[in-house]
Chain length 123, copies 2
């Protein structure tokens, strides 16, 4: 569990530092990356590293919460990009100390549904 | 860890079955519920149960993946509502067998960003 937690922390940190060799080293050769919101998938470490290298803009990632078991984990992190900020969530599978799958989500702001104002406060 | 996993499974199952006494029983009196996307917060078990009881439509939840440590966990689940379907993600804090915080995310579909077609496949 602690090893997986460290692995996920390294994942975010190596992305943040654009440490591409360090990022590549923690990925399984056959890693599968999926974005369910756009139904996009990348198979293999080479393509997934390139995808991140090529991602445009001055983006930054900062871990908020990492939860891990031995073979699976999740990171909830904050991102900033060109003055915008938001939350990201990434699920991981891990085999023998390497990440074999990454599935991430990028939730966007929305307005509260009407009719529940009496129950909620805003921040 | 296994206890927390079971607690999260019970959270989803009691919601799905509209088992409000069962749902209430796993929540701390002072549970805090947050939806970062709409910046809404509910403090206390009574309001949070009511929020769920009152949530309109014939919604259903089905667990996809639960990851847990002793005092924290996450559920990635599918939801359906009035013919629509999607993913939800909920983070939990747990103290002495009761849920003390729930923070959830509701990511929506988006179109792939142009320029990465050579790296990705669609599904």
């Amino acid at each position: 569990m602690d090893d997986t937690k460290r692995l996920i922390a390294t994942f975010l940190d190596s992305l943040e530092r654009r440490d591409w060799p360090g990022f590549e080293a923690i990925l399984d050769h056959e890693v599968v990356y999926e974005m369910p919101q756009s139904r996009e998938r990348i198979r293999g470490r080479q393509g997934y590293v390139q995808f991140n290298r090529d991602y445009p803009g001055d983006w930054h990632l900062s871990p908020h919460r990492i939860i891990a078991e031995d073979d699976a984990g999740v990171a909830w992190f904050s991102w900033t990009l060109d003055g915008e900020t938001g939350d990201g969530i990434a699920f991981f599978s891990v085999v023998e100390g390497r990440i074999t799958s990454v599935t991430d989500f990028w939730p966007e702001p929305f307005e509260p549904r009407p009719g529940r104002e009496h129950l909620v406060e805003r921040w």
